[in-house]
């Protein structure tokens, strides 16, 4: 009888090492380790090359001598200013749109198509947004506003406002999608409970839905800020300046300094781009390039880390809800 059994009975006592298993496990680990090493390599290289350049002078001074010396303060200022402007435009619009799509709009095919389009737009190349920014904001909106207001060429040229608007359009899908996810994660039963107590729709959203979705919305906002701060392609033609001896600041009523959205500006990522590709002496300015890159990396990583910590924190809290 034993001879007819096709499958050999294994020895239950021994635990043979199956080399194929081990090999594949090691391989899978390598697949994670190599990207991590690359990450470490990039970070290490930037820190190694840039840490010597970073000094208070570097961070607080304007570029000098054809940008071969001096600091990058206008770039830092420009990056912060444009990011602020961008989020001021994109956050209310994106969160509002997401609330509208999730809570008010129905499940009709029109809105299904719109949701799919928004989702897809999050993956569209950033240079396309740059094209859109030039074609729509500057040449269409700007020129027409100029024409109507008889302002010559005030709006119809690259400036911070249009760059910020272009970046806002770029991060809009990111904000909408993350807000939608956060809103959808709030259990439907909580909405029903609130409505059954006689709450109006907005009361329900304000008191029940938004407090629970806050974490997710905030995470999306921080991630989009980080993305906006690091993007170069959309602002290449919509407002960045190669070199600008002044800050894009205007004195409101002659006293209060505010960001001037109608001025051009310098920006960290754009600065890196031109310093590496169009600098007069790429080798001599290498320390500046490294230093600028380090500042940009520091800025975006800080934002990303904040977002990640936020997400973990809020996911834990949501986890509690789902266990119950």
């Amino acid at each position: 009888m034993n001879g007819t059994l096709a499958i050999p009975i294994p020895n239950l006592r021994s635990r043979p090492i199956i080399w194929r298993e081990v090999l594949l496990s090691v391989l899978a680990r390598v697949m994670v380790i190599i990207p991590l090493c690359v990450l470490a390599l990039i970070l290490g290289q930037m820190v190694w090359g840039g840490i010597g350049t970073i000094s208070w002078e570097f961070l607080s001074q304007v570029p000098q001598e054809g940008m071969t010396k001096g600091g990058i303060f206008p770039c830092i200022f420009g990056t912060l200013a444009i990011t602020l402007l961008m989020i001021l435009i994109a956050l209310p619009l994106g969160v509002g749109a997401a609330i509208y799509l999730v809570e008010y709009a129905g499940q009709g095919w029109v809105f299904r198509v719109i949701r799919a389009a928004v989702n897809n737009l999050a993956g569209v190349p950033s240079i396309i947004f740059g094209l859109f920014g030039v074609g729509f904001f500057i040449l269409f909106v700007g020129r027409n506003v100029d024409h109507v207001l008889q302002t010559g060429l005030l709006f119809g040229q690259p400036c911070m406002l249009w760059a910020a608007a272009t970046l806002a359009v770029l991060v809009l899908p990111v904000i909408i999608v993350s807000t939608e996810e956060a809103l959808n994660a709030v259990p439907q039963s909580h909405r029903s409970a609130s409505l059954a107590l006689g709450a109006t729709k907005w009361q329900t959203i304000r008191d029940v839905v938004l407090p629970q979705a806050r974490g997710g919305i905030l995470t999306g906002a921080i991630l989009s800020i980080s993305r906006g701060a690091g993007e170069t392609a959309p602002i290449l033609f919509t407002g960045c300046a190669y070199f600008l001896p002044r800050l894009p600041v205007v004195n409101l009523f002659g006293v209060i300094p505010v960001i001037n959205p109608f001025d051009q500006f310098m920006e960290l990522s754009y600065h890196i781009f031109i310093m590496t590709t169009q600098s007069m002496d790429a080798v001599q300015t290498l320390p500046i390039q490294y230093g600028t890159t380090l500042v940009l990396i520091g800025l975006t990583f800080l934002l990303n880390l904040t977002a990640i910590v936020f997400r973990i924190h809020f996911r834990k809290r949501l986890g509690c809800v789902s266990i119950q």
Binding site: P187, A196, G198, Q324
Partner: protein
């Protein structure tokens, strides 16, 4: 003895002294300019019939989700200050019927309701009805306990705050009152400000009941309130239903026939969107008139 704020004590003593109240205008005259029509007008639109023992009256009620009819042509009268159970296999329309009573079906897109539902002889599907106010008067407890991720107090006071009550004393008083009514006060009085999610499942469900009671509803709808609970918690909820029925008109959906037999005074049996039989609970369970009811009761299907 618990500590009671002087203001609360004063209020309570005034209440105990008797019906001291500021003089109120008769209903006919106190319509504000905002309201578009008065109740007498609404009453005129309703059927000229009122049985003093009937709280809810459904007339030819049908509900459609899209093209499919979830409920067809149901007419029934639900008694005041009694427990009415709705039983039937799942998908028979009993929950749908329950949700028509406070118009929660309005929140589901693609739902269409025909027919009329009268509560105290007012058609709640009249276009002039304020749905938000209606839902305040018709409380609802859901199948799965769904306390908000807030503190116990905030949960119980949620409905009150919605309706603009900000006075701390009033809020405290009402929260305590509703928690007591929901038989939860003694268990949570020491940790009122801890998260509602730390409560056990049964306590959470009772908190949901307290939350519904806090806004002074007259009718309490319960959609399988004990289906996700263990037997001990279920027993507590059933006890609670017994205690509440002297003050409230309770309609409860349950798939558990023993539970229906234990808690309800009247029972309606639903099948495939139709109401098959509606009678005293005892009669339904002992001498059902309809063959289908008998089959269901004896466990031949469903």
């Amino acid at each position: 003895m618990e500590y009671v704020k002087p203001a609360v004590l004063f209020k309570r003593s005034m209440v105990a002294l008797g019906p001291y109240q500021e003089e109120e205008k008769p209903v006919e005259n106190d319509m504000t300019g905002k309201s578009q029509l008065d109740l007498t007008e609404l009453k005129k639109r309703s059927e000229n019939f009122q049985n003093p023992f009937v709280k809810i009256k459904a007339r030819n009620l049908s509900v459609y989700y899209g093209q499919t009819a979830a409920l067809s042509n149901v007419s029934m009268e639900i008694r005041k200050q009694a427990v009415t159970a709705l039983i039937g296999p799942s998908g028979c329309g009993k929950s749908t019927f329950l949700r028509t009573l406070n118009r929660m079906n309005d929140t589901i897109p693609g739902t269409r309701v025909t027919g009329k539902v009268f509560i105290d002889n007012i058609n709640i599907y009249d276009p002039d009805i304020n749905v938000v106010a209606l839902r305040r008067m018709v409380g609802m407890v859901f199948q799965k306990s769904n306390p908000f991720p807030k503190s116990i107090v905030d949960n119980a006071a949620y409905g009150l705050r919605l309706h603009g009550i900000r006075d701390r004393d009033v809020l405290e008083e009402k929260v305590e009152e509703s928690l007591r009514k929901a038989a939860l006060w003694d268990e949570v009085k020491d940790r009122l400000h801890s998260s509602a999610l730390e409560l056990s499942g049964g306590q959470q469900q009772r908190l949901c009941i307290a939350r519904a009671l806090a806004v002074d509803p007259e009718i309490l709808l319960m959609d399988e309130p004990a289906s996700a609970l263990d037997p001990i918690s279920t027993a507590k909820i059933e006890e609670l239903i017994h205690a509440l029925k002297k003050d409230y008109t309770i309609v409860i959906v349950t798939h558990n026939m023993q539970q229906a037999a234990r808690v309800s005074d009247y029972t309606a049996f639903f099948l495939l969107g139709e109401m098959v039989e509606y009678d005293h609970t005892q009669k339904i369970f002992e001498v059902p008139k309809d063959k289908r009811t008998e089959d269901y009761i004896t466990g031949r299907f469903g």
